[in-house]
């Protein structure tokens, strides 16, 4: 085996971004699925457009994207399907837009979930990022709106943040196209398993609660061996989440252990609106 000397150019993400091919709506034969999640109005659609070359409508208000949008891109010889999820503040309540995001991250089993966070409102954005880290290990945090943070006199230490969260953190200003090459690189590494994440887990201070979660995780592992997100499923079951209970009952949850995507039909086809009159 020969020693390969890599020059500075080859290790620079900008070098590789030349390898980005925007595939627009063409999402056939993809190697990886990448989900874009994040709070409303953090620039998910802007990142989506930058990567796919599509022109999803971008607007400066929360709640603009209410359905999943899909597009594709190729990077370093691999094809990626990118899914833009509706912006949500949390994955713990039950509005339709949150359910779309939650179901996709849990049941769609994306290879990588990119959490777009607003650098100017880090604390609130981390609430969602931490919840996503409970569901999946394969996360890249896109620390967007760094330009705005600078204008507001905020300094965000992305390296410290990466250490705390245990996943790659990419500082970006997506509107100006800054950070896109670095993001692509991080996504490719996590997707291929070259970067092994060590995600932060939520710290339960209540011993009784922690015990309950552990008991339930044990029961879940027995029933669905190899379930990748047993801990999160346990947390949701303790909260009485009806759709997760349903997935346990009809055993669709079991499919997750076999690595199958069990995404339900597009949400537009199954919104129940039974209002008693």
């Amino acid at each position: 085996m020969s020693v390969v000397v890599t020059g500075a150019c080859e290790t620079c993400p900008a070098y590789h971004s030349a390898a980005l091919k925007k595939l627009g709506l063409n999402v056939e034969n993809f190697d990886y699925v990448v989900a874009l999640a994040g709070n409303p109005n953090t620039g998910k659609s802007t990142v989506f457009n930058a990567l796919t070359g599509l022109r999803q409508h971008v607007g400066n208000w929360p709640g603009k994207t209410v359905a999943r949008a899909e597009g594709g891109f190729a990077y370093e010889g691999k094809n990626y399907k990118l899914v833009d999820l509706p912006g949500t503040y949390s994955l713990l309540s039950t509005s339709t837009d949150e359910e779309i995001a939650r179901d996709f991250i849990l049941f769609g089993q994306p290879s990588v979930t990119v959490v777009v966070v607003d650098a100017t409102r880090l604390e609130r954005n981390l609430n969602l990022a931490l919840q996503i880290l409970e569901i999946t290990d394969r996360v890249v945090v896109a620390l967007n709106l760094m330009d705005e943070a600078r204008r507001h006199g905020l300094k965000v230490d992305d390296r410290h943040l990466a250490r705390e969260l245990g996943v790659p953190v990419v500082p970006m200003a997506a509107r100006r196209g800054q950070g896109i090459p670095e993001l692509l690189d991080a996504v490719a590494q996590v997707a291929a398993g070259r970067f092994v994440t060590r995600p932060h887990r939520i710290h339960q201070r209540d011993a009784r609660l922690e015990q309950a979660v552990e008991n339930l995780v044990a029961a879940l592992n027995q029933e669905f061996p190899g379930l990748p997100n047993a801990r999160w499923v346990a947390l949701r079951l303790l909260d009485g989440d009806a759709s997760i209970e349903q997935a346990v009952r009809d055993r669709t949850l079991g499919d997750l252990t076999r690595g199958q995507s069990v995404l339900p039909a597009p949400v537009s086809d199954r919104i129940p609106l039974e209002v008693a009159s």
Partner: protein
């Protein structure tokens, strides 16, 4: 162990943990998030931008000034749209309805094409399409970029914030104002946007009232009526201001009707208290002007125009056929118009307008071309036969409608009101059905505005006649 055993274990543990489990979990998440954020962020004390944002917000969301700015802003947008589109609209009409139309007929004559064929293709399909393009393209090419710039800047959530109290008072969700704003573009999009509302009750109210936001397809009708009937009756200096005011007035009436209907629904069929929610006011961002112009012209304007053209072309053929195939003593369109005329006149409209609204169920964009074509052909006018539609600019349109169609100011005003208050287009109805999966609510969403439209126009017509205005 089976799935139901897991659920049993969960239920048991849940009972042991007590009701504050959810809060404890949230607390754990919040604590971690705040710790991490604290250690990662530092600031250097310059917060100039924030104070600017705050000052702007204080003005734009002020209980009094907020509404004043809102009114001015929307008036400005429509005034620019109306004044800006006058010249290009008449240039397009001159070209498409004048020269190209004439050239096509000459070509047909040279090829000695049969009269029914050139009639169907040129007077039917081509005319309707050309009309839609020349009436719709200029206003949309101005309106969309302006609206998108406001959106890009971050103004829309402030409007939602201002209107929130009104919606809460009507028993509806504050986010309904955001979905209504989407409706100003397209009602089908507005209906899909109601997904941001969690409560099914409030979501249904938002769906049923979205139609009261005037969509793209209806702006051209309002703008044309405002320009040739209301603007023209004002002194020339104030003409476009008067036209813009009339259009804004109809839009505001739409918002008031939406509030009133929401209130009515939340007191009767859809009883309940408005739910609490938080609305984030995003930072103001300098709009990306060139990008906005590009995307709103290419993506929105052309797509909407394309849809209109796709609808207008077959509609043009249908209109031409119905007004040229005769049964007994009159054409099919003639029979329909005669049948609906008594009702139309009672409502201060006429039979032609009602027939146009039936033809235009797939797309409201073709209302005006349908009305004009029917007025010209059924009026048995020398103009239509002589092809005077050649240069149907605003002034000629006015002449055709008043002299041939017998229109008055009342007809124009009631058409504007009926344009606001009638059934949603078929695309929107289909979307409502897909989102609610309920035939009953889809039917309600079609019939409720129609009933309102009949009632309101009947009242204005009756009043106008009582006071001798019409």
């Amino acid at each position: 162990m089976t799935g139901s055993d897991v659920l049993k274990t969960a239920a048991q543990l849940r009972a042991e943990l007590g009701a504050d489990y959810h809060d404890k979990l949230m607390e754990a998440i919040y604590t971690d998030a705040s710790k991490i954020a604290d250690r990662s962020v530092s600031h250097d004390g310059t917060r100039a931008r924030l104070t600017f944002d705050r000052a702007l917000d204080r003005a734009l969301t002020h209980p009094v000034w907020g509404f004043a700015v809102m009114g001015l802003m929307f008036f400005g947008v429509f005034w620019l749209t109306i004044t800006g589109s006058n010249v290009p609209s008449s240039m397009l009409a001159d070209l498409l309805l004048g020269r190209v139309y004439g050239a096509l007929h000459n070509l047909a004559a040279a090829l000695s094409a049969p009269a029914w064929l050139s009639g169907l293709l040129i007077d039917g399909v081509y005319m309707a399409t050309a009309w839609v393009v020349s009436v719709m393209l200029p206003p949309m090419a101005i309106f969309f970029p302006l609206f998108t710039l406001l959106e890009d800047f971050g103004y829309l959530p402030r409007v939602a914030f201002n209107l929130d109290r009104l919606f809460a008072a009507a028993g509806a969700h504050g986010k309904q104002s955001l979905t209504m704003m989407m409706g100003f573009g397209c009602n089908a999009a507005g209906v899909v946007a109601t997904r941001i509302i969690d409560s099914p009750r409030e979501r249904l109210i938002a769906i049923l009232t979205n139609n009261f936001s005037i969509c793209n397809g209806r702006w051209p009708t309002l703008i044309l009526m405002g320009t040739i009937f209301i603007g023209a009756s004002a002194p020339p200096v104030l003409a476009s201001a008067a036209a813009a005011t009339s259009v804004v007035t109809v839009a505001v009436v739409g918002i008031l009707v939406a509030l009133a209907v929401s209130w009515g629904l939340s007191k009767t069929w859809l009883k309940g208290a408005p739910s609490v929610y938080s609305l984030e006011l995003p930072p103001y961002r300098p709009p990306q002007i060139l990008k906005t112009l590009y995307t709103s012209v290419i993506d929105r304007t052309l797509i909407v125009l394309w849809r209109a053209v796709m609808m207008a072309a077959p509609a043009g053929a249908v209109i031409w056929l119905t007004s040229n195939i005769t049964i007994g003593d009159a054409s099919i369109a003639g029979h329909m118009v005669n049948l609906l005329n008594p009702l139309g006149l009672l409502l201060g409209l006429n039979g032609i307008i009602l027939v146009a609204y039936i033809v235009a169920i797939p797309a409201n964009e073709i209302i005006i071309p349908t009305i004009l074509m029917l007025t010209l052909t059924l009026g048995g006018s020398q103009m239509a036969q002589a092809g005077v539609m050649l240069e149907l600019e605003d002034a000629q349109t006015y002449t055709v409608l008043t002299q041939l169609g017998g229109w008055t100011l009342l007809t124009a005003i009631n058409l504007m009101l009926f344009s606001l208050l009638h059934n949603p287009c078929s695309t929107t109805l289909l979307t409502i059905w897909r989102e609610t999966r309920s035939r009953r609510w889809t039917l309600v969403s079609a019939l409720l505005p129609l009933a309102l439209g009949f009632t309101v126009t009947f009242i204005t017509a009756t009043l106008a006649r009582l006071f001798g205005w019409a």
